[in-house]
């Protein structure tokens, strides 16, 4: 009975994908609808014969876009295998061939023919002028492409790959395809853009010329002859931020674990701050404090008569802002490591007659070394990738991430230069990412075993605890002041000039009028706010889904090339947002995938920016689930999709919620990639705020930021509540 049902059910999946392909080809518009992905006016507007809305079959039938015809045989061929059994070698062969060739035909025509006819000179030379053109792909193409992909993976599975598992092979193929399309393809496109000459050809000389730019590598600040280049600035800044945040993070971790400090919950709450704070908000608060009309500046000039300066704008400001923003991240990394040092190691050292200071220096600190390296590298990468703070605090201090922005947005509009600078930035972060993996892959100091460890961490030596407490206290007070400033700044009429309290900014941003026709969202910020919420709400579940499926493949399945697969999926963690932004513009403003200026490009960029987080959350919680749970489900006749849905997913509820909220919040606070990708129709909260800052409209910007912080705080709070209440059956103690 099981035999019969599985044979037909696997075929029914195949039938579904073949049918999808045919629907895409026969019924849905092949090209992208200009009005938008979710607009359906085309149904009544000339469909199915109008060129813009016609399905591929109708186009070919009318003798147009004949290059779509070669796909037909590969849609027909799979129909002939339906009568065959899965184990028949011809079954697999036909599916693999039609999937692969059909997909190639689709890709080839997509890249070969663009809005100006042939995309490549040699094609024109070979076939003569085309006299026709095509735009970006739409619903039809999307369905046909998926159909070809899954027909192909179906064939691969039938050949016995990954135990012949259709779902797993399909999922692997899907993840590889989307990562290729939305991570590797844009990066490759950017790479090639760095070599494009003004004439449209390719030349290594162009790249070299832009690469050895003084604006990038100048060392003027060291020799005293002017300014340093952006690359060196970024590097100095990142090393400084990495070092200082690591030290501060360690300080807090020590306070929590080794000082007998009671209110550790307060400190742990700090770790939520960077998640809910848009990255440039710290910069704004610093301006309120130390800017030309900042509170501290004014106070000092009044009392001491010191002339206010613009010292904040430049390296000092960015450094302070980034340290404030990223110390909690370092703390988060280090607290795990510092707690992970087994107390019995330290107790053993004590019984071997080491005093507290010697124990700390010879045992505790060396055992924390990998954590310190990790924290440094994360600080380094975050600083490199930060865009918001340098943008509002940078002054004349150029860093790579803002250089990219100004190369593409400013008067120079030099895509090639943007690409070159982005490549430099990318190589820095990739080097750090690689160093991190290399370092952590080689060394493991994990000292916590499954066995109960009854010991307690010894207190840190007194000579250390005094400076540690001092630093932690100062930093803590500073953070409180910063956040106080943000709150206060949002209710002040005009900072430094007119300090009367007012809700004016909130009213401007978020006023609501009740009219006969219903509620009118008349505030200036509502538009971007709702767009942000909408985009983030669409992106969050997709991010979580892609992340969890990837995590499932990485923890639960074995397949050839798994290491490369893992590296590819985690890579986007090391790609700074500005690089993503530039590469997306370069890759997706021309056919075949033409999504610049739509909401889709924002959603897609969020998915791939935040995917590593989902993957990590998924891996962490899936490795807690014993693999025999999956296996018993499989031997009980469930297939892997059913196992994933009925066993794995229900047990992963907390991880799913965390991934959902985290990607939602990250999508709301992101700025670096977003600022390249927003359009008039789809403006996001963060880019709107940056726009207000550039117009010196600080009040509105800060009021809006405060609102965002509270929105996200409630999102995180809601998560805590939901996860706290989620009760799944306790895992049995049996291992």
């Amino acid at each position: 009975m099981r035999r019969a049902s599985t044979d037909t059910s696997s075929h029914s999946v195949l039938i579904f994908w073949i049918a999808t392909g045919w629907v895409g080809f026969l019924l849905l518009p092949w090209y992208g609808i200009q009005d938008g992905f979710f607009k359906f006016e085309w149904l009544t507007d000339g469909y199915p014969f109008d060129d813009d809305y016609a399905p591929a079959a109708f186009l070919i039938g009318q003798g147009e876009k004949l290059w779509l015809a070669p796909m037909i045989p590969f849609l027909v061929a799979p129909l002939f295998v339906l009568k065959r059994r899965k184990t028949d070698p011809t079954f697999a062969k036909i599916l693999i061939l039609s999937g692969a060739l059909g997909f190639s035909a689709l890709i080839a025509q997509g890249f070969g023919i663009g809005i100006r006819g042939w995309n490549f000179g040699w094609l024109e030379a070979a076939f003569g002028p085309l006299g026709d053109r095509q735009f970006g792909m739409g619903y039809g193409a999307l369905l046909v492409a998926s159909a070809f992909l899954f027909i192909f993976t179906h064939g691969i599975a039938a050949r016995g790959a990954v135990n012949g598992d259709v779902f797993v092979v399909g999922a692997i193929g899907f993840v590889i395809l989307i990562v290729t399309a939305f991570v590797f393809f844009p990066i490759a496109k950017m790479l090639s853009a760095a070599f494009i000459t003004d004439g449209g050809g390719y030349s290594a000389l162009t790249f070299a010329e832009k690469f050895v730019d003084r604006r990038l590598w100048g060392v003027g600040c060291l020799t005293g002859a002017g300014r340093c280049g952006a690359a060196l600035n970024s590097l100095f800044l990142a090393v400084a931020v990495g070092t200082i945040t690591t030290v501060l993070g360690l300080v807090f971790a020590l306070v929590v674990t080794r000082s007998g400090f009671r209110h550790t919950r307060v400190l742990r709450a700090l770790t939520v701050l960077p998640i809910i704070t848009p990255p440039f908000v710290i910069g704004l608060a610093l301006i309120l404090l130390f800017g030309l009309s900042g509170a501290v500046t004014v106070f000092i000039s009044d009392v001491f008569g010191i002339q206010p300066t613009r010292w904040l704008y430049g390296m000092p400001g960015i450094l302070i802002a980034q340290i404030l923003a990223y110390t909690p991240i370092a703390f988060l990394v280090l607290i795990g490591v510092v707690e992970g040092v087994s107390p019995s190691m330290e107790e053993a050292a004590q019984t071997l007659r080491a005093n507290r200071w010697q124990v700390f220096r010879t045992v505790s600190l060396p055992l924390m070394r990998p954590g310190l390296a990790n924290a440094f590298l994360i600080g380094f990468i975050e600083s490199m990738a930060d865009f918001g703070n340098p943008l509002i605090l940078g002054g004349n201090f150029d860093v790579l991430s803002t250089e990219i922005f100004f190369a593409i947005v400013g008067a120079q509009y030099d895509q090639g230069r943007a690409a070159v600078v982005a490549l430099v930035l990318l190589s820095f972060t990739l080097a750090a990412f690689y160093a991190q993996r290399f370092w952590l892959g080689k060394k493991s100091y994990t000292t916590v075993s499954g066995k109960g460890d009854a010991g307690v961490h010894p207190k840190m030596p007194r000579g250390l605890s005094i400076p540690v407490f001092a630093v932690a206290g100062i930093w803590g007070a500073f953070t409180v002041i910063i956040y106080g400033m943000i709150l206060y700044g949002s209710v002040v009429e005009l900072w430094g000039v007119n300090n009367t309290l007012t809700f004016k900014h909130y009213v401007t941003a978020f006023s609501v009028r009740i009219e006969d026709t219903g509620i009118r969202w008349s505030g200036a910020a509502w538009d971007s706010f709702w767009t942000t919420v909408q985009i983030a709400a669409i992106a969050a579940p997709l991010t979580a889904a892609v992340g969890l499926i990837t995590a499932y493949l990485l923890t639960r399945q074995n397949f050839a090339g798994k290491n490369a697969f893992e590296f590819g999926t985690m890579l986007s963690f090391a790609i700074p947002g500005t690089v993503i932004g530039v590469s997306y513009i370069l890759a997706f403003n021309v056919p075949p995938v033409e999504i610049t200026g739509t909401g889709i490009i924002l959603v897609v960029s969020f998915i791939f920016r935040n995917m590593p987080v989902g993957v990590r959350a998924g891996i962490a919680s899936m490795s807690q689930l014993d693999k025999s749970l999956d296996e018993s489900s499989l031997t009980l006749g469930a297939n892997s999709w059913q196992t994933f849905r009925k066993v794995i997913l229900p047990l992963l509820r907390p991880a799913i919620l965390a991934a959902l909220v985290y990607s939602f919040v990250r999508a709301m606070t992101a700025i670096s990639a977003v600022i390249f990708l927003v359009s008039a129709n789809y403006d996001m909260a963060t880019s709107y705020i940056i726009g207000r800052v550039e117009n010196n409209d600080y009040g509105l910007a800060i009021a809006y930021s405060t609102t965002l912080i509270f929105v996200m705080l409630s999102a995180v709070g809601l998560l805590q509540l939901l996860v706290g209440k989620t009760r799944i059956g306790r895992r049995t103690a049996v291992t």
Partner: protein, 357 residues
């Protein structure tokens, strides 16, 4: 179908030249051929790392054979994934789904096998009856004891009426008393339903107690296949002799063979026994500790080195010319003293000759 009691669709299993290689060159199972009859309980026995679990998982479809063919019934399942094989498995960790009740766990597999809800439920209840957990359907697995969880795992596998039922060291998480009880229950159910069962264990006593046939594995290949009695009484080589029950492996010399009976000499003592196809020359004599006759009229001499009282019997370590010998004596009344010199003889049945390797 709905009213049917749980029965069996037992099928034979056949391995034909099966090899499993992990990664590039780790050979877990090396060219195994094996026939498992329908309705028999066959145990895969061996030390850890011998390939027995890999063999079991290849029957389940959780591992795929690198080379060779696997048949269940008359169907080639070599390339079929676990889902598509009519096989169920009871895991060492039980692998009960913690978010489902006991009844949901047992119903789980039935819902994928074409039963409607009512039938699936009815069968699941019958399955729980069979393992004596009738009233536990609404509990969560975490609310059961280890033995009860074990029974749920068995019921969950049974109700599917698999062609082959697999057990992967099912009793290793239970205490000694419960173990004996559970293995008897498993054997009873297997016999009353006539199922084909493949059972992996590293506990030779457990294997001897439950099996129709034992497959002893070593270093990724099969050392010997036989009934418990065959393995115990006529081990094929030193490894099997030592692994199944304890055996003294004593070097000896075959001085002559006549009509299938060998004359052997060890430490000056001559004995006659089945030659098992061996010719004259050096060989090994395998003797169970209980088959040594202490203080016999004829035998080799040894001195008592250690005497241990273990309640039901005495255990002795003896020093002979060729090394230490382990012996047991049923009589505990008047034990031999340490240092005492004994003449040790061989029982008429029991000792077997093994090739010298």
């Amino acid at each position: 179908m709905g009213t049917a009691k749980i029965s069996s669709k037992a099928a034979p299993v056949s391995f034909r030249g099966v090899t499993k290689v992990y990664g590039r060159d780790v050979v877990a199972v090396d060219d195994i051929s094996l026939e498992i009859e329908a309705g028999k309980l066959v145990t895969l026995l061996g030390p850890s790392g011998c390939g027995k679990t890999t063999t079991l998982r290849m029957i389940a479809g959780l591992e795929m054979a690198t080379r060779g063919e696997i048949f269940i019934g008359d169907r080639d399942v070599t390339k079929l994934p676990a889902t598509d094989r009519d096989v169920s498995m009871v895991f060492q960790s039980y692998a009960l789904f913690p978010h489902m009740t006991v009844l949901e766990n047992v119903t789980y597999g039935l819902t994928f096998s074409g039963f409607n809800k009512a039938d699936a439920r009815e069968r699941a209840v019958q399955g729980l009856d069979l393992v004596g957990l009738t009233d536990f359907g609404d509990r969560l697995p975490s609310e059961l004891s280890g033995g009860q969880q074990q029974r749920v795992a068995v019921a969950r596998a049974l109700v599917l009426e698999p062609q082959v039922l697999l057990f992967d060291e099912p009793l290793s998480n239970l205490d000694a008393k419960l173990r004996r009880q559970m293995r008897e229950e498993i054997r009873d159910i297997q016999q009353s339903l006539g199922m084909t069962v493949v059972y992996v264990t590293h506990d030779q006593e457990e294997a001897l107690a439950v099996s129709d046939v034992i497959v002893v594995m070593r270093n990724a290949s099969i050392a010997q296949i036989g009934t418990p009695r065959e393995l115990y009484d006529a081990p094929a080589d030193r490894f099997v002799a030592d692994f199944i029950g304890e055996a003294n492996l004593i070097p000896c010399e075959i001085t002559g063979v006549e009509g299938g009976v060998a004359d052997i000499s060890l430490a000056g003592y001559h004995h006659r026994l089945d030659s098992r196809g061996l010719g004259p020359g050096p060989a090994t004599l395998a003797v169970r500790p209980s088959r040594l006759v202490l203080n016999a009229g004829n035998g080799f001499s040894a001195s008592v080195n250690k005497a241990t009282y273990v309640g039901s019997r005495m255990e002795y370590t003896l020093n002979a010319e060729f090394g230490p010998v382990f012996a047991v004596a049923e009589s505990t009344g008047d034990p031999f003293r340490v240092g005492q010199e004994l003449v040790v003889g061989l029982a008429p049945t029991g000792p077997v000759l093994l090739p010298d390797d």
